[in-house]
């Protein structure tokens, strides 16, 4: 399976290598660098590269390439999924997954990689098990370690691997027992030039932060489970129960985890929370272009639209933009031609707008491509699909936990074509 792993940073240096079988020379990465050079954008490096003796499968996260070397047939998704899991674990352990963080914690990283794969085959990828084996570094622990000479490696043996609920570590204890669930929905949409919706769908996730003592057995039910068209679960969710009753029944892992992700059936009309009025024109012959953009709330069920961020990739011919925002700030990067406008909160009484001119390269013909406008936004306390959690019950433990549910709507891949 996975032979070796190389971590490559944005400037093309290998800053970490780990081998699970015989050592593979790092020169194998030359093929990768070649492909990297050929690709115009960093994300265009093909995930699978074939070399004479090996195959390189890579993922790009946080501007680091994780390049896995494999030697024989293996499902590519297997490797890709695993690499992403590695990144998630690093993020979980160090808060961020950057080159600096990895270098600072190189020993922990090495210990983690050692536990995650055995002979190239995944062994322990559940964060609960890993945390039992290798304690995440914290200030306090480091201080204690330096004084007492104890270590980050768990003294206990990884009993979690033996349990029937491998995702939950045993002997969890909290003084405050709490369970929080965040229902986060993202709207993916493509809006036409004329403002009509070409495609729109809602993807949602329920992220949980469960800190409960012992082995609680939770059930979560929805007011309107029929909204959920396609779901994927954390392994802890009992599938049969969902099939039969549309109730989520599970023994949760300890800490943060994604309980489920879902897709709201496309039959339901998707409420589009904002509208965009735009007028972006380039006149033939003149070196000026007009840029005019107004945002307004549309179907927000009375909630405020916050953290609005508009970005647009302007045509290559645009040299500079001289714009005037009615609120927020805008930036234009003359190199990448990326225009971003941090709008903030939309005030329905006074709609935010961004107006002005763009200067074009003198003499060049007018660009015939139209930029698309990408929008990010947040609406608190609302799930746009209308999904509502009915109740959360706990069985198996005696105490009364504190329960909390938060709803949020975000724009996912929300694009307006012009």
């Amino acid at each position: 399976m996975i032979h070796s792993l190389f971590l490559v940073n944005a400037s093309g240096d290998i800053f970490l290598e780990k081998h699970w079988k015989s050592v593979v020379s790092r020169s194998v990465c030359d093929y990768f660098f070649e492909a990297q050079e050929r690709a115009t954008e960093p994300e265009n490096v093909p995930p699978v590269i074939s070399t004479p003796h090996h195959y390189l499968i890579s993922v790009l996260r946080h501007r680091i390439y994780f390049v896995a070397v494999i030697q024989s047939e293996v499902p590519p998704l297997f490797v890709i999924e695993f690499l992403h899991r590695v990144v998630d674990t690093f993020q979980d352990y160090f808060g961020v997954c950057t080159e600096a963080a990895i270098k600072d914690n190189v020993v922990v990283v090495y210990e983690l990689l050692e536990e995650m794969l055995d002979n190239g085959f995944p062994l322990a990828t559940e964060s609960n098990i890993l945390k039992e084996l290798i304690k995440p570094p914290t200030i306090l622990r480091t201080m204690v370690n330096t004084i007492t000479g104890s270590t980050n490696v768990g003294e206990q043996l990884p009993t979690g691997q033996l349990s029937v609920v491998p995702w939950r570590r045993t002997g969890v204890k909290y003084t405050n027992n709490e369970a929080y669930f965040d229902v986060v929905e993202e709207i993916d949409a493509i809006i036409d030039k004329s403002g009509s919706t070409i495609t729109a769908e809602i993807q949602g996730v329920i992220d949980a932060c469960v800190k409960l003592t012992g082995m609680p057995d939770l059930t979560l039910s929805f007011m309107n489970p029929r909204l959920l068209d396609d779901v994927s679960f954390h392994p802890c969710v009992r599938f049969k129960r969902w099939e039969a009753e549309r109730i989520l029944s599970f023994i949760p892992p300890d800490g943060n985890f994604r309980l489920l992700s879902y897709h709201v059936s496309s039959q339901n009309l998707v409420a589009i929370p904002v509208y965009v009025k735009h007028n972006i024109t380039f006149r033939e012959g003149s070196s000026q272009g007009r840029f005019d953009l107004t945002l307004g709330p549309k179907q927000t069920m009375g909630k405020a639209v916050e953290a609005v961020l508009v970005s647009s990739q302007l045509p290559r011919g645009v040299l500079n933009a001289n714009l005037n925002p009615s609120q927020g700030t805008y930036t234009f990067d003359p190199v990448t031609k990326l225009l971003t406008w941090d709008v903030g909160k939309i005030n329905p009484q006074k709609l935010p707008s961004l107006k002005g001119t763009m200067s074009l390269q003198a003499g060049a013909s007018k660009p015939d491509e139209n930029p698309t406008i990408n929008i990010q936004l947040k609406i608190q306390q609302m799930a746009i699909s209308g999904l509502k959690v009915n109740r959360l019950d706990m069985y198996g433990e005696k105490y009364k936990p504190f329960k909390g549910i938060k709803y949020m709507t975000k724009a996912g891949k929300f694009q307006v074509r012009t």
Partner: protein, 1107 residues
Amino acid sequence: MSASSAFNDEKGGSSSVGEPEYGHDPASGGIFSSDYKRHDDLKEMLDSNKDALKLEAMKRIVAMIARGKNASDLFPAVVKNVACKNIEVKKLVYVYLVRYAEEQQDLALLSISTFQRGLKDPNQLIRASALRVLSSIRVTIIVPIMMLAIKEAASDMSPYVRKTAAHAIPKLYSLDPEQKDQLIEVIEKLLADKTTLVAGSVVMAFEEVCPERIDLIHKNYRKLCNLLIDVEEWGQVVIINMLTRYARTQFLNPNINESLLEEGGGGDKTFYCSDEDEDEDEEKEKQAEVSALAKRKPYVMDPDHRLLLRNTKPLLQSRNAAVVMAVAQLYFHLAPKAEVGVIAKALVRLLRSHSEVQFVVLQNVATMTIKRRGMFEPYLKSFYIRSTDPTQIKILKLEVLTNLANETNISTILREFQTYIKSMDKDFVAATIQAIGRCATNIGEVRDTCLNGLVQLLSNRDELVVAESVVVIKKLLQMQPEKHSDIIKHMAKLTDNIQVPMARASILWLIGEYCEHVPKIAPDVLRKMAKSFTNEEDIVKLQIINLAAKLYLTNSKQTKLLTQYVLNLAKYDQNYDIRDRARFIRQLIVPTEKSGALSKYAKKLFLALKPAPVLESPFKDRDHFQLGSLSHLLNAKAGGYQELPDWPESAPDPSVRNVEVKESVPEWTKCSSREKRKEKKVEKPFYSDSEGESGPTESADSEPDTGSGSESVSVSVESGSPSDSEESEESSESDEDEEEEEKEKKKKKKEIKQMQASESEQSSEDDRKRDRKIKEQKSNSESESDEDSESESSQSESSDTESEVEVKKKKKVSEPKPPSKPLKKEKKEMSLLDLDDFEPTPSPQVTPVNTFLSNSLVTDLEGLSLSDSVLSPATIAPSSALKNYELLHRITGEGLSVEYCFSRQAFSPDANMVAVQMHFTNNATSDTKNLHIEDVKLQSGMRVKEFAEIELLPAGEATTAVMGVDFCDSTQAANFQLCTHTRKFFVSIQPPVGELMRPVFLTENEFKKEQSQLMGMNEISENLTLDAKCRNEHAIVQRVTTAANLSRVPCGSDKECRFAGKTVTSGSLVLATVATKDEGAAQLTVNCEKMVIGTMLVKDLLLALTQ
């Protein structure tokens, strides 16, 4: 000293810098700038006796390894610490050891004894980690030691150690392939393991070591299918991929008859009709191949095939993209056409994931859309392209969109394409133009529209766009050139502007090919080209020569000189291809005395009608690689790729998957000789049967049910403890019995059966077999259902003997008890089911009505049961408990006293009513006349069926009557007046909640299934301490059945008693479980949809059990 000072310095340094987030890690900072001289310090630190120093040194060394720096010269110093007490030091030493052992083989041997000691440790986790490191040291000398360790670990008690053993197998194999045979033995052993922990790892080892030994899978196939859902996700991927291959060798193509069906009267299959057209040729071929076969034998899916499909389906919901993809490919390769559709949704969901995942998924979707377009059509919009997608994703999405295009959606797709053409990403625009071209060739209706659109693009400012359009237009024009001479003219004009060689070449080729359509322009183009010949690219030059040659042949008058000029230029070209071509063409077209017969045919050679090119998807025919595989992605065979075999023409013997219980499997209970005998007996007639093929079909159908049933219960079952599997199998056995018994009943053989029951155990067993044989002859299907549970054959002797013991126990208990009263008939079954193996029992759903009516039968049975000690305990249980309630006291009733009880029999006139038996006693001195009911006052919904008027009740006499009350599943009282010829008495009947239900028969599996659906609010649990007198099973059963009209559900565990019933009116299930613990502690669980009933029942049962 220097070492420690360096250490201190560093510590001080980093803490002053202060890295609050990650804390102080000695490996950071200084290490990365360390030089080789420090190795001496490291050695010193490793030799010290302070763990902290050792740890510090090891951390630095690991950091070096991570950076790819060579640290091999430290080997002797490091390996000494292999037995260090500090866990972290030890772990880091392991890391070092595994990395460098290969280079320092001799020194590495020093560490081996430590691991060998570890292998004997009482702690399973230490054993496992010792094996893990030992097997990771790639030193050939220790192969025998490894082999021994693996073999030992493979039969370890702990599944975790066995899992590690499975992991070690490929390691050893790669070190020494000679060991293959021995390793296969170990694999075979581990494949038989029943724990989920081992399953994934051993299949992985199987795939690496001996993927060709498909025969090893047979016996484990069903087990793997059933365990699959509980295996960890990475193991799932490996198992699913392996099972796909396995299924391809063992089962028949489920789509064999599909084509036949559809051609016959496939009106209802319109969904797939569209691809049928495309696939028609293919289908026909296939059809011809198999039609003979198909006609002879209609396709019946092997139940094992079905089992696989059913058990993998839930995994489409996995969060792991690799698992979803694995299931998707399994369905694509194995499922009947009509079922493949389910995977589309899951695959579309993956498109939300990371771009690398999207990349792989889209590749596979592209292949699938060629074969099964209909599947993804509803998700068309999910493939629309966003400007933020990476180019490689955009191009793949485009591919999918093109594959999905058909007459109905082409207009929307083309509209999308129009916006794509305006994109800033030029590679993507070029791909879009090609996609338009492909749509145009595939869909005749839009060809003209597309062509017009492309022609408009010719005036685009971007040269790349124009060039790409030209190339595509060229291909399109080839299909119907005569109509489009104006387009050709338009393109001829473009030669002045377009510089992209490919486009120029395409235009020239077009003009040459259709020079007859543009007779005036063609020579002019040649003239211009001749002028610029020397500056053109090679491909353009070749096309100029071609054009010249073609024009010379058709219009030699105008172009002779031009042609010769071009040929002369070409003769001295730098490129030898062009020189060659010129020479060749000159000989061919310019007739000289030397030129042979060939020049006569020059015109035919050059101006032959050329077939239009087929614009094909690059993903066509990729599906001969297993989807989701690396080979499929690369469209080239990767090392170690296992070919996906074609379906066999006729299915191999399915019996190979039947599992016999082996002694070697520790978890399985031993199989009694009787069991085996039985098995053989049944097998013989079965396989000699002419329709043996379809036989096991049904048989295993019940198997997955048992599997899923036990799954749904709870995690505790997932642990796969042997007792569970026993339980479920046992219950399936009882299932069968019930079934059997029902059939018997239809045949009115009840009496005979009862007789049988009273016979000795041995004879009843024999009878059973005889019966079975008879039935086999009668109908095949019946025999199959029998065969089913036989093939499982896991019913253990122990459980048999257990129930025997139980019976005996009951005998003892029952004998001293008084004979039962009438009316208790249906109660009998509750505990009768315990004896499931011995005799069939009448099922309550069928009997009650007639029992009530025909008293004679009741008494008959009663007589039987009295004489039959086996039956009696069950009969007695509830009878003693039939409780009488007072309706009318004799004082208030002026001599008339009335008592009532709930007879627990179905009220024959109305099944929704509870039968209330009333017992009238006339204590007065005078007769009572005209006893009847009047003025019934009821809550809404309730009904009463009065008893027939009792005309005369003489003094001192007693009589009974039965009335029916529909309580509407509530404990509200029914109020009415009881009237005699002189008086009226206000009375009311209030039912205890336990009487509002009637028993139903469930098998254990059904029970579990139902129970799993009645969780949450519908489940009420209470802990209790059992009454001292009621600590044995029998007493519990008795008390519960007394308190509530429930029937006992057979149960494999003696710690649990289960009861089931239905409310009389609404038929909602009522399930009760009493799980006993130590010292009289017990837990009572009631599951009922009607929460009120549930809570009340809990109260009542609690009372009954604790008093």
